[in-house]
Every structure is written in structure tokens, then in C-alpha cells.
Symmetry: C3
Subunit: 205 residues, 3 copies
């Protein structure tokens, strides 16, 4: 049977705090683009969530460095917390670019990418929720995160192709190319986290 010995339940709770916080950041980014009334205020809220994420990550690392026994491999806990922190950094970096580049109106593709980021983060959260119990269903969620990353990659590539076909102003092109790439990188980070989670499952099967 599957199952990790819950030597340190606290780790699971901290990871859960982190994945909830990531969903909050992803939801704020989606709302920001769907309703582009006050991007500066939206970005400020996302920044706060990102700071909260830094604190949780820092607490996990501190706890990790002081624990003799850990519920799964020390290196995987370290890698997972870094990967989750990276997701939030990229959500924040995406929001920042809309403000920094004085974007007037988000494009449909950027909204689609924000939607795919939120879906990925929700799937990561479902996976993290299983860490203390039955690990078996985790693999299916990881496959879902991979599929969402592939989809985001496709949307990003098509958006950039279209940009090079249609956008005649090179400065607008530079801005949007970077916005699409930053949004897409957030889903890459979700995939990194999913890969670590999958390896935890295999090791503890």
C-alpha cells in the first residue's frame, strides 16, 4: 500500500499553506487581467501574497535544517519548497510587467495563460493535499499539470507567432513577447513542482 509515515505532520501543513497561498496569487492575477480597472492595486496585492510566500518558504527551510527526521527525502522537501516559491515569483513577475510596461488592455492570449496558471496551481494544491495520506492519486494530477504546461506552451508560441506577424511596432512587440514568456514560465515552474511530487510518490511507493 501507499503511504508516507507522518513523522512531521507540520511539514505537510506548511506545504498546504504554501499551495493555498499560490492559488491566491494565481486567482489575483487572473482577476487582474479579466478586470483591468486598477492594475497597480492588483499588482500590489499580488506582491503581498508573494511576500507571504517568502515567509512560508523561509519557515519550511528553517524547519528542514533543524529536523533530523523528515517525512520524505530532505532534498525533495528543499526542491519542492523552492519550486513552489518560484511559481509565486513568476506570478508576481507577470503582474509586474503589465504595470511596468503600461499595458492598456490585456490580450485574449494573456488571459488564457492566466487561466492555465490558475488551473495548474489548483492541481498542484490537490496534489500537496494528498502528501500525508494516500499518494497513489498524485500521479494523475502530475500528468494533468504536464498537460496544462503543454497547453500554455502552445498558447504562448502561437501568441508570439501572431505578434511577429501582426505587430509592426517593435517596442510593443518586445513588451508582449516578454509578458507571454513570463506567464508561460509560471506554468513551467508548476511542472517542475509536479515532477518533484511525482518522484516523491515513486520513491515512497
Amino acid at each position: 500500500m501507499f503511504g508516507l509515515i507522518p513523522k512531521e505532520e507540520k511539514f505537510f501543513a506548511m506545504f498546504r499553506d504554501m499551495s493555498h497561498n499560490i492559488i491566491e496569487g494565481a486567482q489575483l492575477l487572473k482577476d487582474m487581467l479579466d478586470n483591468f480597472d486598477d492594475p497597480v492595486a492588483s499588482q500590489r496585492k499580488i506582491k503581498e501574497v508573494e511576500h507571504k510566500g517568502d515567509t512560508i518558504t523561509h519557515d519550511i527551510i528553517k524547519k528542514l535544517n533543524k529536523s533530523f527526521i523528515t517525512p520524505f527525502d530532505r532534498e525533495d522537501i528543499y526542491a519542492l519548497s523552492a519550486a513552489l516559491d518560484d511559481i509565486l515569483d513568476l506570478i508576481d513577475a507577470s503582474a509586474q510587467r503589465f504595470v511596468m510596461y503600461n499595458v492598456e488592455k490585456p490580450t485574449p492570449e494573456s488571459k488564457e495563460l492566466a487561466f492555465l496558471i490558475l488551473k495548474s496551481c489548483q492541481t498542484i494544491d490537490k496534489t500537496v493535499a494528498l502528501l500525508g495520506g494516500k499518494l497513489e492519486p498524485i500521479s494523475a494530477y502530475c500528468i494533468e499539470v504536464n498537460a496544462l504546461e503543454n497547453e500554455a506552451d502552445r498558447v504562448c508560441r502561437e501568441a508570439i507567432s501572431r505578434l511577429f506577424d501582426e505587430e509592426k511596432d517593435p517596442i510593443q512587440l518586445i513588451k508582449w513577447k516578454e509578458i507571454y514568456e513570463t506567464l508561460e514560465t509560471a506554468t513551467d515552474k508548476c511542472e517542475d513542482a509536479a515532477n518533484i511530487l511525482e518522484s516523491v510518490v515513486v520513491k515512497n511507493a
Copy 2:
């Protein structure tokens, strides 16, 4: 004397599959640029090779996570398989950019970079071939990969310098700058793999 105890011959065979697959990808990229008849078809073939690489990498990781005893340090196997996978990702990313940016004709510098990538991959393959036996000659191959990366770096820097001197269309400049950088990053990934291989040699001397 040099030599790794071949506790798990299967790992060596899997790495060899991977390095053969990488050579195939690198050869396809070189052919694509030397003979730019149907870049879309070429890119599709490279994508297939990249997918095959994903499968091999996945199998290595799965085997790694289930093995108690490994022929060399677990973390080095993990790092090496990730580095080899990255090489193929960058070969694929390079090919993609020629299609996505509707390139009409590859430049001499891009062909030169594709040639240096192929040479690096061939050298990596020779190194991987030695893993089960005498490790001593590996160091010389690693030095060769480093020299090829330095050469690619020089070609890339000169190509970008020339671009900024000569290309007046900023959109063309953006496209080619990224193509050169993506090609060059493939040789960086070869160097990363070589560094891991060199550290395996030192540890097992």
C-alpha cells in the same frame, strides 16, 4: 586503476540510448539548416526525437527511484539525465524558432553553431560510452566539450555584434538575437553534462 563497479548495467545502456538520441536530434538540426527546404517537416522530426528523449529520461528517473544500489552517485545520475534532457530541449527550441519566426534562410553563423552543437553531442556520446569501463579518457572529452562551448560562445557573440552593427530592422534583430542565443545555450547544456561526467570520474578515480 579506474573503473566503476557495473552494479546496474541497465543504467549505462539507458544513458547510451539517450546520447544516441541526442546525436540524432543534433544531426537533424544541422541538416535542417544546411538544407532549408522544408523547415516545418524538419522541426516535426526533431520534436519526435525530443519526445523520445523525454521517455528515456522518465525511464531513467523511474529506475533510479526504485534502485537501492546505483552504479554511481544517485544525485549524479539524476543530474546527468536532466542535463542530457536539457540538451535535446534546446535543440528542439532552436528548431522551433526557425519555424516560429518564419526564417527565410539560415545565416552562416547559425549553421556554424548547429555544427558545433553536433560536435559537442558526439563528444558527449563518446564520454557516455565509457561509463561502464575505463573512465580515464573521459576527462579529455570533457575538455573538448568545454572548448566547443567556448567556440560557440565566441561565434554567438560575434554574430550578435554584427547584428547590432548591420541589422536596421529591430524585429529581424530580435528574432536573430534569440536564435543565436538559443543555439548557444544548447552548447552550454552540453558543458553542464560534461561537468557532471567529469565529477563522476574524479569521485570514482
Copy 3:
């Protein structure tokens, strides 16, 4: 009380050589921008310092791979030497861009970033100097490096915002955007090194 058993004093001396060398690179970069008389010659000197850094890093790794007992966790020594090497690579990459892009005159923001890089490197050096003895004061230095990175991030973001507001020539915009980003990445690498150093402190408290 704090303290690492100095099993291998030589490691501390090698890290100190490395951090001195990094300061030298950072000082040369700052001098290059403050006094932009002969950027090609300045860049060549920085390149030499970077090569020296490669040699020190290589020696640390070689020593690491041959040592049974290490003064702190093997993986942390590896990560720290890689992080210190990355700082110097980014200093060199920054200098290169001023030459490659035929920059006529450094902007105030680029000078400010070079100043923040130098301050970060000096702080890293103070931290490295403490590795063999009392570790306690290291944490305060790490917080300082984090603060300097935040400041560099702010300077970089404002410089890029201003660029998009004021620079009408897209090719100039591309050049300066990349220069600012490369300089800022050097302080990111300082932060990575500080994070590793902080984790060494926590583990050995």
C-alpha cells in the same frame, strides 16, 4: 556556541581566495563604468579575473570530490562554489555587453547597479571570512545581501520603465534592457550565495 569543526581549513582558504577574486571583478566593473575611457581594456581585465575564478572553482570541486570529510555539507560546498562562480560570470557578462553593444556612455542607473554589485560582493566576502570561526554574525550579512538585491531590483525595474517611456529607438532599448537585466542578475547570484551561506549557519548552529 556556534562553530564549525575546521576539518579542512584549506576549503575556507579557497573560498576566501574566491571571494577576494569576486571583489576584484566587481571593483573593475565599477571602475570601468565610472571611468569609461577604454572599455575594451577593462573588459579584458575582468575576463582574466573570471578565468582565475574558474580555476579556483575547479580546484574546490576537485578537492571536494577527493575529500571524505568536509567542514560542512558536501552539497553546500558544491552549491556555494557554483554560486560564487556564477557571480563572476555575470560580472563578466555585464562588462561584455558594454563592449559588444558599443555603448558610448554608461547611464547613471548602470553605475548605480555596478555600485550595488560591489557592495554585495564585499558583504559576501565578509561572510565567507567568518566560515572557519563564529558563524553567528553571518545571518546579519545575509540579510544585508538580500536588501542590496531588493534595491538592485528596484533600480533595474525603474530604469527599464524609464527606457520604455523615453527611448524611441528600439535597438537602443533592446541593448539597455539587456544591460540592466544582466547587471541585476549579478545581484541575484549574490543573493543565491547568501541563501546557501545562511543555510550552512542554521545547520551548524
